[in-house]
């Protein structure tokens, strides 16, 4: 381990106590891991003895939330340095694990494999973007921010650029990005608990909120850090176990990340077969006709709805007149009352139906061939060549935005304030990425293994012999998984199956034929991923408000106790606010989360990196650059993203710039941010010597505070 590299040097008192602290930590987490395994095994035994699924789910839910809350209570503190940055003594490895849990959200844990299943190669933009961003963190931010050694990201902007405006802009951007993200996490908690334990969505949110609050409310960063380490261990075991099992089942080799290339080949071969399968073509034809029908309806929705109503009424009347069985009368009655009430409702419903039918009239259920890089064909005619270029450009743009966004999300960056030294900050980024990569290189394997299972074992099976997991999940939530025999041949075709992305991870244990206790474990893992991310985000928001707004801008004389108390109150308020928003099930939350990356990238990255690497960057330039970057990103999204367009009442036709999708708007915002900062800096007065000294101070690990200016520097 790199931590031993310096063992030859004279170790001071601090180093010794740090080593002792780390040994104690190793001890605690070893026992914790053993205890957790024993707990899972005990539940497995109880399941064999007949414990019901409901109970297993509930026990998992309550036990893990109770555990996290327990850690939180044990770590409670009122000390500012403990509360904001865990006393700056988290060893690199543990900070790596905590960052891993902080980083991997419900979307990574549950959604990623599904995205990869549905989109094939294009989904890999998320894998590259969400890992490659850590290179930027390591090179440009983490070590320097650690040397700076304050409490929040706006702190750095405020000190480096001077004045309250950069600080305030930083606070606004941090809250904006973090809040959308935290709503998505709490929403995820509700979904997971609802699906796996059968408790109501709202109750699930409430339970999750309790866990989050007990943890971060009392102990701040200290509690969040040690809980996140515990959560990382739960989530990584929960993710790897079903995938390894599935790999053993299909290939006999327990290292899915190494072996799934051959499964991918088989999937590709099977894709070619399915594209020419006559029954598949038949189903596609039926959907094509359905799409055409809907298109006709959409031309004159008012008349079409009227005609539908007349037809349904007539059917009902005929049935009643002929004394048909009560069941069919009842069905006809329901069909009539289920018709859309107004033309607007009908229009929306039909548009969705048509989009579905359109997708299902294409080969492979509308999915691209899994291994095919980009759409279109670079050697084909002008249209397919253009399609190829646009698809490739969007892939690269998305990778760019996700990477730069990763390197700019405040809740990740503040984690590097918590390690003891610059050296450990650098090491810690390596550990973080290692722990994150473990999950991210497994997700593509899971997607391919499930696809192999579906394409070869499920497709073509008679409807009455479908595997149990299909019927079971169909019952839990038809929007996740449903099958309909469209061409009435008694066999399941690929295009007769509708899948929601989340099912890939949630059903993986059942697909592998594992006992239910593993499904419970997966749910606990998803919960851990969502809770850990929510903890980190809430803390970021609360610290920004209490430290940057209240302490630095409103009342610089506030006592530490007062600041910490205020932070706790704010945390409570923000958490309740987020839960309130999440309980309304906002439909476009997924878009907002991906958009948060573009926003963070455009707002923070240019100002932060230039602040460290270019002494000439001035305060006014940074403020303008942040506004310009954020503004450009927001402007593009408002012009092009359907939900934003409706929010801001934009009616002119969508004009994409170079075909770039709205999710990657940061690809315009980031360069604009850089350009504005550089140009305005050169036009304004050089920053004063104190600021230049600060930059020097940040650049050299051992440079003392005395060589810069007195006071204000915590930690070493």
């Amino acid at each position: 381990m790199p931590a031993n590299a310096n063992s030859g040097e004279g170790l001071g008192q601090g180093a010794e106590s740090r080593a002792a602290f780390k040994t104690a930590l190793n001890h605690v987490y070893k026992w914790y891991a053993a205890g957790f395994l024993a707990f899972v095994l005990a539940l497995a035994v109880l399941e064999q003895m007949g414990l019901s699924r409901q109970w297993i789910g509930l026990i998992f839910l309550l036990a893990t939330i109770g555990l996290y809350a327990g850690i939180g209570i044990m770590c409670r503190t009122t000390d500012a340095s403990e509360y904001y940055v865990a006393g700056r003594r988290v060893p690199a490895v543990y900070n790596g694990m905590a960052t891993g849990a902080d980083w991997m959200s419900a979307a990574s844990f549950i959604g990623l494999a599904g995205t990869l299943y549905l989109t094939g190669y294009s989904g890999l933009a998320f894998i590259m973007g969400w890992t490659g961003g850590y290179c930027l963190v390591a090179f440009f931010l983490a070590p320097y921010l650690r040397k700076f050694g304050q409490f929040t990201i706006p702190d750095f902007l405020g000190e480096r650029y001077g004045g309250n405006i950069p600080r305030l802009l930083g606070v606004i951007a941090a809250i904006f990005c973090s809040f959308t993200y935290v709503v998505a996490q709490i929403y995820g908690v509700g979904i997971i608990t609802a699906r796996l334990t059968g408790v109501a969505f709202e109750l699930g949110i409430f339970l999750g909120l309790g866990g989050i609050l007990l943890c971060s409310f009392l102990g701040g960063m200290r509690a969040v850090t040690w809980t996140q380490v515990a959560q990382y261990l739960v989530l990584i075991v929960a993710y790897l176990l079903p995938v390894v099992w599935l790999s053993v089942k299909q290939t006999g080799i327990p290292v899915p990340q190494v072996i799934y290339g051959y499964q991918l080949q088989k999937v590709t071969d099977r894709e070619k077969e399915l594209s020419h399968d006559s029954r598949e073509l038949e189903v596609q034809q039926i959907f094509r006709e359905r799409a055409a029908e809907l298109a006709a309806k959409l031309l004159d929705p008012h008349a079409a709805l009227l005609a539908d109503r007349v037809r349904a009424t007539k059917v009902l009347a005929e049935l009643k007149a002929t004394d048909a069985p009560l069941a069919s009368i009842y069905a006809a009655d329901r069909a009539l009352s289920n018709l859309p009430k107004t033309t607007d409702v009908a229009l929306k419903a039909w548009m969705i139906e048509k989009a579905e039918a359109d997708a299902k009239s294409r080969p492979l259920n509308g999915m691209p061939p899994h291994a095919q890089q980009f759409a279109g064909d670079p050697t084909g005619d002008a249209k397919t060549r253009d399609e190829f270029d646009v698809s490739r450009r969007n892939f690269l743009a998305l990778v760019f935005c996700l990477m730069v966004g990763t390197a700019a999300l405040p809740h990740i960056l503040i984690r590097y304030y918590t390690v003891p030294s610059v050296k450990e900050a650098r090491q810690s980024v390596t550990w973080s990425l290692l722990f994150i990569v473990l999950l991210y290189i497994t997700a593509p394997a899971l997607a391919v293994l499930v696809k192999y299972e579906v394409f070869t074992l499920v497709v073509g099976t008679p409807f009455d012999q479908l595997p149990d997991w299909i019927t079971a999940w169909n019952k839990v939530d038809p929007s996740l998984l449903s099958v309909v025999d469209v061409n009435h041949d008694g066999l399941l075709q690929l295009n007769e199956m509708s899948i929601g992305g989340d099912i890939i991870m949630l059903a993986a244990p059942a697909i592998g034929g594992l006992p239910y206790v593993v499904s419970g474990l997966v749910a606990a893992g998803g919960l851990a991923a969502a809770l850990s991310t929510a903890d980190g985000l809430l803390l970021t928001i609360a610290s920004s408000l209490s430290h940057d707004v209240y302490y630095k801008m409103i009342d610089p004389n506030a006592s530490t106790a007062r600041r910490v108390t205020l932070s706790k109150v704010l945390l409570l308020v923000v958490a309740l606010g987020a839960a309130y928003v999440a309980s309304h099930k906002p439909a476009d939350i997924l878009f907002l989360v991906s958009a948060a990356f573009s926003f963070a990238a455009a707002a923070f990255f240019p100002a932060l990196s230039l602040g460290i690497f270019w002494k000439r960057a001035t305060g006014i330039a940074a403020s303008l650059g942040m506004v310009a970057g954020l503004g450009t990103t927001l402007y593009y999204m408002v012009l092009t993203q359907p939900w934003m367009r409706s929010l801001f009442n934009v009616t002119r036709p969508i004009e994409l710039w170079w075909g770039i999708q709205p999710i990657s708007a940061g690809v315009f915002g980031v360069p604009v941010g850089f350009a504005v900062i550089i140009v305005v800096s050169l036009l304004t007065k050089r920053p004063d010597p104190a600021v230049q000294d600060l930059v020097e101070y940040v650049r050299y690990p051992s440079l003392g505070a005395s060589e810069k200016r007195q006071g204000g520097i915590g930690g070493l």
């Binding site: 310096n6 080949q265 290189i441 650049r699 051992s702």
Partner: protein
């Protein structure tokens, strides 16, 4: 000033290393992805560019950061900028 030239040398070396690793990062990420269609020869079952995007580049990133951390540690010591251990 002795101190200043030492600082400049340290910063220059650190900057050069960062540049070099960024180049590698850029090639692995955007270079390979740009030519993904061309680079689809068989690689243990995967088309090469698929493997790079799914497994290869994340692993390369880990190595890049590890090299950076190790080299910077040495650079700190060589220029007398290592932190005291307390």
């Amino acid at each position: 000033m002795q101190d200043n030239s030492n600082r400049r040398a340290y910063w220059r070396k650190s900057f050069r290393l960062t540049g070099l690793l960024m180049l590698l990062w850029f090639g692995v990420t955007f270079g390979v992805s740009y030519y993904a269609r061309e680079l689809s020869f068989d690689f243990f079952g995967w088309p090469f560019s698929f493997w790079m995007a799914a497994q290869g580049s994340p692993l390369v990133y880990v190595v890049i950061i590890a090299i950076y951390a190790r080299y910077m540690e040495r650079l700190d010591v060589a220029h007398g900028f290592e932190e005291s251990e307390d």
